[in-house]
Amino acid sequence: MNCSVDLAGVTLKNPVMTASGTFGSGQEFSEFVDLNQLGAVVTKGVANIPWAGNSTPRVAEVYGGMLNAVGLQNPGIDLFIERDIPFLKKYDTKIIVNVCGKTTEDYLEVVERLADQPVDMLEINISCPNVKEGGIAFGQDPKAVEAITKAVKAKAKQPVIMKLSPNVTDITEMARAAEAGGADVLSLINTLTGMKIDIERQCFVLANRTGGMSGPAIHPIAVRMVYQTAQAVKIPIIGMGGIMTAEDAIEMILAGATAVSVGTANFTNPSVTMEIADGIKNYMECHQVADIRELVGAVHDRF
């Protein structure tokens, strides 16, 4: 039985990855998860310099999900290279570094600093809804998506994953733009912009007013976008958004994802990524699937 998948020449032992920002750099979760059993660890977004992020409250629970407005707090690329990459190198898993920035130059600085690092892939976050500059601004206009993709590709030494925002009219337009810019892989979806109001105090629950919605509540939207994108581009897709169980992961794969990232579910169960990897194997056994790649995009009509 083959569970391994290929993303732009990088072979993951299984399709289960962590969603950026929900797993730190793996250190804290390594007490709950054997990182060797994951296809890849995707780190929290890192910028050229340390960012302090937003004021608190930064998270709020909503029905079947959560809002976050962490605002990309991160220690900056220097400390990241010094501390987080060596930590992850101890494990037999792929290392994918999520990159954020306020300007194109910020992104490129991080990409260049990572060029000689033992990092397997770069995931470029152009879809964070929680920062004023950069982030989502790059991800809601196809021309901007193509331009930043091209700029990153020109400098990157590792394969480049572009991470797309669901807060758009047509996800396939953004996907095609990233593909045209030379993206090797696409990640989708980032969070949907949401808001929660405290009706007792009549104030916004989050200091940032809006936050990015994640968790099982957004899963059907993510599945739809992965499906649409898989019809529209030739490059592989990493599917994410509300994956809580192996079943959810398989749904995403059937919709067209080559690999999946698990985010908010880590908060509901810190060992969930390992359990999902096991569950996928079980499903393959029960359904006599010899190679996971047979499942990618294998959904069909009823009749």
Partner: protein, 255 residues
């Protein structure tokens, strides 16, 4: 390689101490074994519409029996769900989490306000020193019998219905108390006043902080508070309450 996991705890007993304040004993061997005063556990809801854990401080630890005690106020849907559970039912926990209180052998104030009182009980049990326990209540009191066994207890109530009318500092002043170290947990305004008091009197002061959490284990950066100095882990002036805290030196953090 993964030595920790969610633990399924069994409810040994639950009762309502005061309207809306519940007292629950849970059998949970591993957590009870490792836990110490000032740490907390993440408690998970059964209802699928609530996906984040609820952080609750450990009020008491029974190492022999492999049990912990949680005392909590019904604040919303999650704690309401817990409050309806009965002996024999299961709850999933992760923990113990956070750093806990440092234990020094110095004449101490243990100050608790409202629902910040429960962690003071285990702290009092673990501390080996002269303990003055100062408690602030809105009106009705709880956990008094347990705390009285651990040291001399002084009370302040907002409405003056018991002890000193006013806040915990009023009670300290009214009773002419002094100490060499302060441990405190409670609402922010109380912690602010204590921080100021400790600075003025130059007393070592440890406070337990609260913030909305998601992961509870230091990975998501939801639960930060501002720190005076650049934090070693975050590389900015932010500390994770769930990881570097919830207990901080008062002068370390800004709030």
């Amino acid at each position: 390689m993964a030595e920790k996991a969610k633990e399924t705890a069994i409810i040994i007993d639950q009762k309502e101490l005061l309207p809306g304040i519940f007292d629950m004993w849970l059998r949970t061997e591993k957590i009870a074994k490792e836990a110490k005063a000032g740490q907390f556990v993440s408690v998970y809801c059964h209802d699928g519409s609530r996906i984040l854990p609820r952080p609750i401080s450990i009020c008491e630890i029974d190492k022999e029996d492999g049990a912990i005690r949680l005392v909590y106020r019904v604040a919303g849907k999650g704690t309401e769900e817990f409050s309806k559970m009965r002996t024999g039912m299961h709850l999933q926990l992760v923990g113990p989490l956070g750093n806990g209180f440092p234990k020094k052998e110095k004449k101490a104030f243990l100050i608790g306000g409202g629902i910040g009182i429960p962690p003071m009980l285990e702290l009092a049990k673990e501390l080996n020193c002269e303990k003055q326990i100062i408690l602030g209540f809105r009106d009705e009191m709880f956990l008094m019998d347990d705390l009285k066994k651990q040291g001399s207890v002084y009370v302040a109530t907002e409405d003056g219905s018991a002890g000193t009318e006013g806040n915990v500092l009023d009670a300290i002043r009214e009773n002419g108390l002094d100490a060499d170290i302060i441990y405190a947990c409670g609402p922010l305004p109380m912690l602010r006043a204590i921080k100021e008091y400790a600075a003025e009197k130059q007393i070592e002061c440890w406070i337990s902080m609260e913030e909305r959490m998601a992961c509870g284990i230091g990975a998501c950066l939801a639960c930060v508070c501002k720190s005076k100095e650049r934090d070693e882990h975050s590389n900015v002036k932010n500390k994770r309450i769930c990881k570097e805290g919830p207990v901080f030196r008062a002068e370390e953090v800004e709030f």
